[in-house]
Amino acid sequence: MQEGSTPDSADATSRIADSTIISRSPSVLTAEVDGEVVMMSIEQGQYFGLDDIGSDIWKRLDSPCAFADLIDRLAADYDADRASIAADVRALLESMAARDVVRLA
């Protein structure tokens, strides 16, 4: 994961619960450059870059889904324990939400 500040990974302070619905922001623009997915929220004018894993997560958000479902699908495909996947992905989604490239509901 890259770009942006890393919010607290402690779940207690996170806005993202298992049932939180994650969706792509309607104002986001995306392009692939230098093998990296680059995105920008039109409203904020802040760019955001995703590495391979981040890009995979972005693709999985092509339709809105609950955080727990997203983590289940990632845990099935990646060789890591569910808790650490959840912590990493939560941190990434927090910083994406801060730049309005994803929305939380």
Binding site: V33, D34, E36, V38, M39, M40, I42, G45, G49
Partner: protein, 314 residues
């Protein structure tokens, strides 16, 4: 020295605005005089007239400007006046005082020119352009980032300058990214000229009552479009030594976006999406994005110029 008493001179001045002809009732000393056919029709008209205090159907209302679609932009500057820009070809100015306030010329040549380019669906960067090895290198940065000073130093080493403060990127030909020459004269404060060892005797003043001068750095380059090789964002007052860093991905995109003259009006005029789309096009056309950390002193500036030349001439 050409006196700025030309302000209220009657009649019309004709200027070359990156290949377009601009007829203006206001003297705009930062722009080169029109050197094409005398009877050519104006592409852009800038004249005095009545300007409303608000647009009839604004899409965006900010503290100093409003927009309606891409075609209308209204700037309201207390103490200076109101300026309406329409359809990339019409600038109407209602100054608050007569003679016109002395900052009007800089506003017309800078932010208002940028709005014209956005309306014409071109991409204006806040940059001075130096031609190195036949290719354009855009030196970008905010006011006082040292764009013009670095450009003047490179010009002193034989490289030509084809734009100061604002440059226009043209991507209308598929797969090509070029810049059109604008002003070959740099605007420099006397301190910068002194540092560079240039005497101010005989130089035309860029601002009345201020120690800011024009220095011609064109080095007789032909005024044709040049392929854009690099966008270099200057960071001034960096800790020594000078460093040139290649940017990639989102960092490069952010740097390009921050070089747009200027982001807020561009977004309000609906240009955010085309600007975003410009970045991958520029990358695939071979434009490199860089950050140049420039220390404050002359030695640091020399180092920065040397690093830039070594990389761009490679």
């Amino acid at each position: 020295m050409q006196a700025l008493a030309g302000w209220e001179r009657s009649g019309t001045h004709a200027y070359r605005l990156c290949g377009l002809k601009l007829d203006s009732q206001f003297a705009l000393p930062a722009l080169p005089e029109w050197d094409g056919p005398a009877d050519a029709a104006a592409d852009v008209d800038c004249r005095r007239g009545e300007v409303p205090s608000r647009l009839s159907r604004p899409d965006y209302i900010g503290p100093v400007f409003q927009t309606s679609g891409t075609g209308e932009y209204l700037l309201v500057l207390p103490g200076t006046g109101r300026i309406l820009v329409r359809n990339g070809n019409e600038i109407t100015v209602e100054p608050e005082a007569a003679p016109a306030p002395s900052n009007l010329s800089a506003i017309l040549a800078g932010p208002i020119q940028a709005v014209l380019w956005h309306q014409r669906e071109l991409l204006p960067l806040h940059a001075s352009i130096v031609v190195i090895n036949g290719r354009a290198v855009a030196l970008c940065g905010d006011a006082a980032a040292g764009k013009s000073t670095l450009a003047a130093m490179l010009a002193g080493q034989g490289h030509g300058v084809i734009a100061d403060d604002i440059c226009v990127v043209d991507m209308r030909n598929d797969g090509e990214v070029s810049v059109t020459p604008g002003c070959t004269r740099l605007q420099l404060w006397r301190d910068a000229l002194t540092e560079l060892g240039v005497a101010t005797d005989g130089l035309e003043r860029a601002l009345e009552h201020k120690q800011r001068y024009f220095l011609d750095c064109g080095n007789r380059l032909p005024l044709q479009p040049y392929k854009l090789a690099a966008v270099v964002r200057l960071v001034r007052n960096a800790l020594p030594p000078a460093r040139l860093e290649r940017l990639r991905g989102a960092e490069a995109a952010q740097a390009m976006y921050e070089c747009v003259h200027t982001q807020r009006p561009a977004r309000a005029l609906g240009r955010a999406q085309p600007i975003f789309a410009a970045f991958p096009l520029m990358t695939s056309a071979g434009v490199g994005f860089w950050r140049l950390m420039v220390p404050r002193d002359l030695a640091g500036l020399r180092q920065a110029a040397a690093q830039l030349l070594a990389t761009m001439e490679d």
